[in-house]
């Protein structure tokens, strides 16, 4: 027992010694906690927020965006779109170098964009790009086969990292290139350590081409998979920033911490929508009225206010409500159980039916919780719901991509321009068995196909809006998907932080202006 006492004593002493231990970096170390595991750090061949956050620190891109969807110079100090909308000239900065000292040239830009076109899962981003001319080392001209209004947004840091040709152009498959783990870029930070599934350490790039930046000495990205542990790390001051925070309990809890600021700004670009998808090929669900009945039965208000404790906002259509393209006049499907029952009777299911619902395994609140709620709620209109669990993401993805489902919860991102993240869900020619986040609903409407094709090449913003408005009316009304809410991504950060990353791409944006004054 004496030994135990002594051990405890020693531990307490050690604990107090640690809490008063001096901190090291002078310009400050920014500790970010994240719960998604990046496969590697090359955003040119890998989409997703897990890779984008470190990738945008390591790589620079032609353009960058702040809060208001207006492009800003980055590697391109200026740019010019031709009148016909078929070529974009990028004038690159003179002094940009990669972390290995080699200059960033138009060759690298051309190589990167062609690599992305070939390898990135978002095929629509650069699909119209035919070629890239490099008249001199600091000029790149992107030639298009048809007008492409999404192009400027596609040149964002999160989507178009400029990767060094002298590293990745060695003939190996870039998707599996060994350099993807610790890549060389031209961004504000250099990756010095990558422990898969654990941590990424980024050190200040002293030769960054933007004068006086970055302000921070170091960014450490810690991967913690347990949300409670992430919250504790924020509460203890062991971390300075927690982006992509979506759990309502965690948001409410961190709001109570004096030294932290919680905001939902910074996620307009991603446009994450949480929805219930219908397999319209299923005989039970092919009748639009059944889908509408379900839409009338589900109480979006209850989900956002009670289940999500008011942290999430309602989402009525396929385009995120914070986007300029959103049409607010779509049918909201306010809860109406009588109407729902009537629709069921009209569709020939007066005796009710049995359905299964899948959900993405992982944090429950946006997915499993709603699936469980559906089991409870749809019972009221005679639908017996079985919640079909998948033990893991692959099982779920396999079922949904294989069209082996009836209802499923899903979470899909807009990725800035509808061409990149919205079209894929509704185009008839994107019904592709085996591909997740394609048109897995098997939804087909000729008018929708037409509208989307036109919107993809329409350079006039108002005309484009009108095309998308009609699209939204149709899709919401026919309910291949019942839109529930915008995933309530929040960022929690130390209040003393200067210039927290709250632009349209949030933390998937270079943090070269972020400062931690009292820091550390």
């Amino acid at each position: 027992m004496k030994l135990m006492t002594r051990l405890m004593g020693a531990a307490v002493i050690a604990a107090s010694a640690l809490s008063s231990a001096p901190l090291f970096a002078e310009g400050g170390t920014l500790v970010i906690v994240a719960n998604q595991v990046p496969r590697h750090l090359n955003g040119a061949v890998q989409s997703g927020i897990a890779t984008a956050v470190p990738s945008t620190q390591i790589f620079a891109s032609p353009l960058r965006y702040d809060e208001d969807w207006t492009p800003q110079p980055y590697l391109a100090e200026s740019w010019e779109m031709s009148e016909d909308g078929l070529s974009l000239t990028l004038n690159l900065v003179q002094n940009a170098t990669f972390h290995d000292g080699k200059p960033v040239t138009s060759e690298d830009v051309a190589f990167s964009i062609m690599t992305i076109k070939e390898n990135h899962p978002f095929q629509t981003m650069f699909a119209p790009v035919e070629s890239i001319d490099t008249p001199d080392a600091h000029t790149a001209i992107i030639r298009l086969s048809k007008p492409h209004p999404a192009l400027l947004l596609a040149l964002s840091p999160a989507l178009a990292p400029i990767i060094p040709k002298h590293v990745f152009g060695d003939g190996q498959d870039v998707k599996a290139h060994p350099a993807n783990a610790m890549p060389v870029g031209s961004g504000p930070f250099i990756v010095t350590e990558f422990t898969p599934g654990e941590a990424i350490v980024l050190k200040k790039n002293p030769d960054f081409f933007l004068e006086g930046r970055p302000k921070l000495d170091e960014i450490i990205l810690r991967i913690i998979q347990d949300p409670s542990a992430m919250v504790i790390a924020m509460e203890n001051g062991e971390a300075d920033m927690y982006p992509f925070l979506a759990g309502s309990q965690d948001i409410r809890r961190l709001e109570k911490v004096e030294s932290l600021t919680i905001t939902n700004e910074g996620y307009a670009g991603i446009g994450p929508i949480n929805w219930l998808a219908f397999n319209t090929a299923s005989p039970k669900l092919s009748d639009m009225r059944v889908r509408q009945a379900i839409a009338y039965a589900v109480d979006r208000d209850f989900i956002t206010k009670a289940l999500h404790r008011g942290v999430s906002t309602q989402q009525r259509g396929p385009i995120i409500e914070s986007s300029p393209f959103f049409d607010a006049s779509v049918e909201p499907f306010n809860v109406d159980l009588d109407k729902a029952k009537t629709l069921m009777v009209e569709a020939g299911f007066a005796d009710g039916m049995e359905l299964s619902v899948d959900y993405i395994p992982g944090p429950a609140e946006q997915q499993k919780t709603i699936a469980e709620y559906l089991k409870s709620q749809l019972d009221k209109i005679g639908i017996t719901v079985t919640v079909r669990a998948a033990p893991d993401f692959p099982t779920w993805a396999g079922r949904v991509a294989g069209h082996d489902f009836e209802l499923t919860m899903d979470n899909v991102f807009n990725w800035g321009d509808p061409v990149i993240g919205v079209h894929r869900t509704y185009l008839t020619d994107n019904i592709r068995q085996g591909v997740i986040w394609s048109n897995t609903q098997s939804y087909s409407n000729a008018r929708v196909d037409e509208l989307l094709a036109a919107a993809a090449v329409e350079l006039d913003i108002d005309k484009r809006k009108a095309l998308y408005a009609e699209f939204q009316q149709i899709v919401v009304g026919e309910v291949p998907v019942y839109f529930i809410n915008a995933t309530p991504y929040h960022t929690a950060y130390t209040s003393s932080m200067v210039n927290p990353p709250l632009g349209i791409w949030g933390p998937m944006h270079p943090m070269d202006m972020v400062e931690l004054p009292d820091a550390n």
Partner: protein, 289 residues
């Protein structure tokens, strides 16, 4: 008790039962387990509430409303309803997994111990193989392979836990087969199968019964661990599942995790008290210590 009674021969089972009855911890175990089983039976067959139903606001603390004695979970579902209806599957998986463990373990152990030679060699190699296999990881592979249902979970647990039973059975059988009554059975020309099942195994029963009891406890813990990792059957309420799905909220609400954990603990605790009691009862010599 007088000596006259003491000298009267008593059947071993009777003697064991007498010892067991006087073992206070074991009787506590019996009482607690009976209460749990009764509550579970009541919950499974007579309880009117639906554990999936959202009955109230999420995360209401225990005792705030008298009708929701143990509070509500993250969806606003009644924890008490979850406990009484989740007990059935938990106990069923535990018992089924223990049964599978015992069937595989006893069969292989008895064969190895009785026949010896190459049979023994082969079976013991297989046993060693399964002992080297990291149990929980392997069970996880099996459960993800066959998708998580109560049946697959019970099977997976059974498949990874039998080696110890096999070793125990083998040791007992090897001991007993040298005894005179086995030789006698052989002498009258009994068949091997008959000797194993009707002569040897009944005599090896006491340690096997103890081992079976303890296996139930281990299996319940195992199921809880799998459910906690998210590999439980989500359409079947179980205690492990309750802990696993409420784990993300422990900082805000302790009760949705604490009560199912206590239920698991009390069940395994009482089962192992009973196991210990049986062990003592079957080995009166140990009791003297």
């Amino acid at each position: 008790m007088t000596d006259a009674v003491a000298f009267k021969p008593e059947s071993p089972a009777r003697e064991a039962w007498r010892m067991f009855r006087r073992n206070i911890p074991a009787m506590i175990g019996v009482v607690v387990l009976s209460i749990i089983v009764l509550a579970t039976l009541w919950g499974t067959f007579f309880f009117a509430g639906n554990p999936y139903e959202i009955v109230w606001a999420p995360h209401e603390a225990p005792g705030v409303a008298p009708e929701f004695l143990l509070g509500t979970d993250y969806l606003g579902r009644d924890i008490f309803a979850g406990l009484v209806t989740g007990g059935g599957p938990t106990l069923a998986v535990g018992a089924a997994a223990a049964a599978i463990t015992m069937v595989i373990g006893i069969s292989l152990g008895a064969l190895a111990g009785f026949y010896g030679g190459w049979v023994d060699n082969l079976l013991m190699r297989i046993t060693e193989f399964f002992q080297v296999l990291p149990t929980l990881l392997f069970a996880m592979v099996l459960v993800t392979l066959f998708s998580p249902t109560l049946t697959t979970i019970a099977l997976a647990i059974g498949v990874v836990s039998w080696p110890q039973t096999a070793r125990l059975t083998r040791a007992e059988v090897m001991k007993i087969k040298e005894l005179e009554y086995v030789t006698a059975a052989r002498a009258i020309g009994a068949k091997n199968r008959r000797i194993i099942w009707q002569v040897i195994l009944p005599n090896a029963a006491p340690p096997l019964i103890v081992s079976a009891t303890l296996t139930i406890g281990v299996a319940i813990l195992f199921e809880a661990g799998l459910s906690f990792l998210g590999l439980g059957d989500p359409n079947t309420m179980s205690w492990g599942l309750m802990i696993g799905s409420n784990r993300a909220y422990i900082l805000d609400a302790w009760w949705p995790v604490t009560f199912p954990g206590l239920a698991i603990f009390l069940t395994v605790f009482s089962v192992s008290l009973i196991g210990d009691g049986l062990n003592d009862a079957f080995n009166p010599k140990l009791r003297e210590r």
